[in-house]
């Protein structure tokens, strides 16, 4: 056995279509052209960490539709899989989803394709280790910062688990919502570029998630949103959850790897507490926007 294999680590046996290391991202650098990145479905990332006794900032693996498979090297590990519902197996035997799972040394942990939702989160007691860039281990697919998407055969080191055992073995959890999903939308900074009729269209019509959606944005198909102002505007700072309308009128919802600035008007904003629904919406999912206003009860901030 090589010294490497005796250390606490996992080998990526099957990376799946897109599996990345994610944590809470790197907010605070947008003025340098660096986006926030981080786990798309933050509640699922946090829950998975909590189930294995990690702090919320510990890095998890974020899968995309096709799951992943990994092997425990050197030492047994405890993992939990949350987010998109998927079959979880250890050496071929079914184990629980959204619960702590013991994986003996050398055993194969398989996360199957997403049955509902898009992104499963694999937390491991201690957290996955990867180089920290600007305080975060997250892969930013837009800027290329952070570790590259995982490939078959990659070996990821794992930090020592915290001494304190998890507070709870089982936490009630709900699966990602089924189609159609309903997203609250607040008027955006450029809602005035569109007018009341377009706002009415946005909040009454039904949209569908396009195949081209990714960690950068959820792209939607449906009635085009007509504007009264110019097609493009001087670039301005953009936030997570901004609903931007490019020249073709089809809205684009900015997710964690969004560009820090954008040149199209933002008609609305999806509040942070609703975003996880969007991040788990698979292609073809139907999406409805429900008009909200800032007077609604203040929800907890996602941080």
């Amino acid at each position: 056995m090589t010294p490497r294999a005796r250390s606490r680590a996992v080998e990526i046996v099957r990376a799946g279509p897109l599996t990345t290391v994610q944590d809470l991202g790197r907010p605070g650098y947008a003025h340098l052209g660096v986006g926030r990145s981080g786990a798309l479905d933050q509640p699922a990332h946090r829950l998975a960490n909590r189930l294995v006794g990690n702090p919320p900032a510990a890095a998890t693996l974020e899968t995309t539709l096709g799951g992943t498979a990994l092997r425990a090297l050197g030492e047994p590990v405890v993992v939990a899989v949350c987010g998109a519902v998927a079959a979880v197996r250890v050496n071929g035997a079914s184990v629980a989803w959204a619960a702590p799972v013991y994986v003996p040394t050398g055993a194969l942990l398989e996360i199957g394709p997403a049955v509902r939702g898009v992104r499963s989160y694999v937390a491991i007691a201690g957290g996955f280790l990867a180089e920290q860039i600007l305080g975060s281990r997250s892969t930013d697919l837009l800027s290329g910062l952070g570790p590259a998407p995982l490939r078959d055969g990659d070996v990821l080191a794992v930090a020592q688990p915290p001494q304190v055992p998890p507070a709870a073995d089982v936490i009630p959890v709900s699966a990602p919502a089924d189609s159609p999903i309903e997203l609250a939308v607040l008027p955006g900074p450029r809602a005035e570029h569109f007018g009341a009729e377009t706002w009415h269209t946005l909040t009454r019509a039904e949209y569908r998630v396009k195949d081209q959606s990714n960690r950068i944005a959820l792209r939607l198909d449906g009635p085009a949103l007509a504007r009264q102002g110019p097609d493009s505007i001087p670039s301005e700072g953009a936030i997570l959850g901004a609903l931007q309308v490019p020249a073709d009128g089809l809205p684009i919802l900015f997710l964690a790897d969004h560009p820090p600035t954008g040149g199209y008007p933002v008609i609305g904003v999806i509040p942070g507490e609703a975003l996880h629904l969007a991040t788990q919406a698979a292609p073809s999912t139907r999406v409805r926007f429900r008009a909200a206003n800032l007077g609604s009860p203040k929800a907890a901030r996602l941080r």
Partner: protein, 206 residues
């Protein structure tokens, strides 16, 4: 200034011009340093706006900003960075023609001005520098290049800038610098940050 709500935790402040953007950004930073502002995550200047994102409750700050007296933008200027440039870009001749001068004169003009980083974006470490007089503003190239080498010094619209890494790009390439615009081995990876003053120093073409 016009203050726009941007969701539950952000404000977008629309300014009259880039000078007001710089002044407002400087004032926000000064007040933050003095502990006069609520906590926030990001302060993002852009062409005509300043975004303040990650506020618990933007309402009080929105009310406050409107009453501020902003400093002279000259007082908001940051440190000076000198970038060595070889004026050997593939678009230099074309830019010189549009500016109605020779390539040498275009190089002398570009290197004779002092610029200021108005904002960053497009890619980590990509700074939009203002300071080029209006008569030298050119539209972007009709077809962007798919690969612009790192260190390319370019102009487009009211801006000049340097590509921090190999990327697509639609600006006119007039020169090359060996300066590392983005380097993660430095404690501040970005060489140019909003407010930084920049001068291009011409090197011989050898």
């Amino acid at each position: 200034m016009r203050i726009l709500r941007y969701g539950a935790h952000a404000l977008l402040v629309e300014c009259a011009d880039p000078d007001e953007v710089a002044a407002l950004r400087a004032e926000l930073l000064r007040r933050r340093e003095q502990g006069l502002l609520p906590a926030f995550d990001d302060l993002v200047p852009a062409e005509r706006t300043v975004l303040i994102d990650g506020l618990d409750d933007p309402a009080p700050l929105a009310g406050e900003i409107a009453g501020w007296d902003l400093p002279d933008p000259a007082a908001a200027a940051g440190s000076l960075v000198r970038l060595d440039v070889r004026y050997d870009g593939p678009d230099l001749a074309e830019v010189a023609r549009a500016w109605r001068m020779t390539p040498d004169e275009a190089a002398a003009l570009h290197s004779g001005l002092e610029y200021r980083v108005a904002f960053c974006g497009f890619a980590p470490g990509f700074a939009y520098l203002t300071g080029l007089p209006p008569q030298y503003h050119l539209p972007r190239r009709p077809t962007p290049r798919t690969a612009v080498p790192a260190g390319s010094v370019a102009v487009a619209g009211p801006y000049t800038g340097v590509y921090p890494r190999l990327s697509p790009g639609g600006w006119h390439l007039i020169g090359t610098t060996g300066a590392r615009l983005w380097d993660l081995s430095r404690s501040d990876p970005a060489l140019l940050t909003p407010g930084t003053r920049v001068v291009f120093t011409p090197q011989s073409r050898g």
